[in-house]
């Protein structure tokens, strides 16, 4: 099976702080990988390196066999376009309606506004936020924001999802809904890499990678 993500001795330092120390990991295409470990061990940093959101200080990070660390910015952007990323903090463009936030990844693909609204409505319904397409992020609770983040990650029909603590701070019901979405995504033959403390996600994983 081909490897979609691979890290070899990947390190990331921020001045004197070592955020990730020599992580080595291989993620086969179609796998569900849970990255676990104590807080501060570098789970978020490893996901950022795998998602081409950051470059390793040393070591190698590969996507589809291509080195991301030395890749040009346009190439890295093209890689990100093939991925869906769920952030722990659920960042959104404040003031912008949910349907716009969810479908912003589709804008550079030239998807028409009407089509974007349709896709957003369907995705928001899938994550259990029905009929609130026009709401602003600031009107949402933490759990709702997390679900909108998942909807945004799914919007561009990605090859893989990188999820950073996707169920943290969620109530049991909402967490179950998010886990269900990830399971459905994986069941469709796609790759999921999730940094998590959640046993429910660990139980779904085909492989678990422990950091720290």
């Amino acid at each position: 099976m081909t490897r979609i993500f691979e890290a070899r001795d990947a390190c990331r330092r921020f001045r004197d702080v070592c955020a990730l120390d020599r992580a080595t990991l291989a993620v086969p295409r179609g796998a569900f990988v849970a990255i676990t470990g104590p807080s501060g061990c570098g789970k978020t940093t490893l996901l950022a390196l795998l998602g081409a959101l950051d470059r390793p200080t040393s070591g190698t990070v590969l996507f589809d066999g291509h080195d991301l660390g030395g890749a040009s910015e346009p190439y890295r952007s093209r890689v990100r376009r093939r991925l869906g990323i769920v952030f722990q903090s659920s960042p959104m463009i404040e003031g912008l309606p949910l349907w716009e936030n969810v479908t912003y990844p589709l804008v550079p693909r030239g998807v028409a506004t009407r089509e974007r609204r349709r896709i957003a409505a369907a995705l928001l319904e899938r994550v259990g936020i029905r009929g609130r397409d026009g709401a602003r992020p600031e009107e949402l609770s933490g759990g709702e924001r997390q679900r909108v983040g998942v909807a945004r990650a799914l919007a561009a029909d990605p090859e893989a999802i990188l999820a950073d603590e996707p169920t943290s701070d969620l109530d049991r019901e909402t967490a179950a809904a998010v886990v269900k979405l990830l399971r459905e995504f994986h069941a469709a033959g796609r790759t999921v890499v999730a940094a998590t403390h959640d046993p429910a996600i660990e139980a779904l994983a085909t492989e678990t990678f422990r950091l720290g």
Binding site: T45, A48, G51, L53, D54, R55, E73, P74, S77, R78, R80, R81, R82, L83, I85, F87, S89, P91, M92, I93, G95, L96, E100, Y104, P105, V107, P108, R109, G110, V111, A112, T113, R152, A156
Partner: protein, 395 residues
């Protein structure tokens, strides 16, 4: 194309999404551009009026020259000029400056025959001058001096044979509104008395038969110096054609405009960092948004394109608002404040209609400058945000 339109739309949305940032940028642009557009509008309007004035004037102007400097002409020169073939009409004029009223307001006295007063200056009150000591004043000057028809002015000049009380017999408005600010008409004799220069004129206005202007000009230049037997000897003729006057116009107006532009450039130099600051207002928010876009697959150039559209919209808003406000300032507020720069002697709030013309070039220049400044401010901060690692900006 669809991709471009979709990204452009998000640029427009960004303007609306950040009303404080957009509003502050547009306000700064307006503060810098409105005086510029208004002042260039007044300069254009004045130039138009001056050209119109020159067109309706004489074909040739003959004045005197001593030591290569302007000197008054003896009235006996009229006959010598009239005898030149091709000359249809000659009449003398005295134009001089004098301080008038308690504030010694600068006024331009035009001594001229009654039937030669330009038709573009009709009396709105009273009548034209007839006898000596009678004055017809521009409406704005009359307002400044607080005089009306029938008012008597105490002597405001020194004359060897004694000064006299003058009477305002008429107040005029003009098609050339700036004349209202400082002009007063009187007879040639009255003007001679005011300046204590009997038998002299400052210039002769010559009208030529059609097609003879060039020949008359050449002949006038060849005339012998005019000699009326006065103590200072003869005065050489100096001839100025309409074209010469037209050529002088851009120089004089350009000088005033140049002074203004210099001030404007200085103001602009101060304004640019301010504008860049406001354009980059909310830099942390901008960085975060750019990082989020990059994280969801946007390319750097797509983020920059969004910023460019945002800049374009802000520049159009800034320039458009500036032109509208400048128009309002010039039309509804009669160029209060800016008129004094171009009309020496005019009040900061003149009562007459200040001429103006909003030419497309300054407006377009204003737009280009707006775009350049906002683009620099917006794109620089966007570029910095877009080239940073998204993970760092989203931490």
């Amino acid at each position: 194309m669809r991709r471009f339109a979709a990204i452009a739309r998000t640029g427009l949305v960004a303007v609306l999404l950040h009303p404080l940032r957009s509003g502050a940028t547009v306000l700064c642009l307006v503060a810098v551009l409105v005086p510029y557009v208004a002042a260039t509008g007044v300069a254009s309007g004045l130039a138009d009026e001056a050209r119109a004035s020159i067109r309706s004037g004489a074909d040739l102007y003959v004045s005197g020259s001593r030591f290569g400097r302007p000197a008054p002409l003896p009235l006996t020169a009229i006959e010598a000029v009239r005898s030149v073939p091709g000359v249809r009409d000659v009449f003398p004029r005295i134009v001089g400056e004098i301080g008038i009223g308690s504030g010694r307001w600068p006024a331009v006295v035009v001594g001229i025959a009654r039937d030669r007063v330009p038709a573009s200056t009709p009396c709105v009150e009273g009548r034209l001058f007839e006898g000596e000591g009678e004055l017809v004043m521009g409406a704005e000057l009359a307002r400044k001096l607080e005089v009306r028809v029938g008012s008597r002015l105490p002597p405001f000049y020194r004359n060897r044979s004694g000064e006299r009380v003058s009477t305002v017999v008429g107040i005029f408005r003009s098609d050339l509104p700036m004349w209202e600010a400082n002009l007063l008409f009187c007879s040639l004799e009255t003007a001679s008395t005011i300046f204590d220069q009997e038998g002299l004129a400052t210039s002769l206005l010559v009208t030529c038969e059609p097609g003879y202007t060039q020949a008359v000009e050449t002949a006038l230049r060849r005339l012998k110096p005019f000699d009326d037997g006065g103590p200072h000897g003869p005065v050489a003729p100096a001839v100025t054609s309409r074209e010469d006057v037209q050529a002088l116009l851009p120089r004089s107006l350009g000088h005033l405009e140049g002074i203004f532009q210099l001030h404007f450039v200085l103001a602009f130099a101060v304004g640019i960092p301010l504008l860049m600051g406001t354009a980059g207002l909310g830099l942390s928010g901008r960085r975060r948004e750019a990082a989020l876009l990059k994280a969801t697959g946007w390319m750097t150039d797509e983020v920059l394109l969004q910023g460019m559209v945002e800049s374009l919209v802000l520049a159009v808003l800034g320039a458009g608002t500036s032109v509208l406000l400048a128009y309002g300032w010039l039309d509804l507020l009669d160029a209060k404040g800016v008129a004094g720069i171009f009309l020496p002697g005019a009040d900061p709030a003149p009562a007459f209609r200040v001429p103006f013309r909003l030419a497309p070039v300054p407006a377009l220049l204003g737009f280009a400058v707006s775009l350049a400044i906002v683009s620099v401010g917006t794109l620089y901060s966007t570029w910095r945000a877009a080239t940073a690692a998204p993970a760092l900006a989203l931490r």
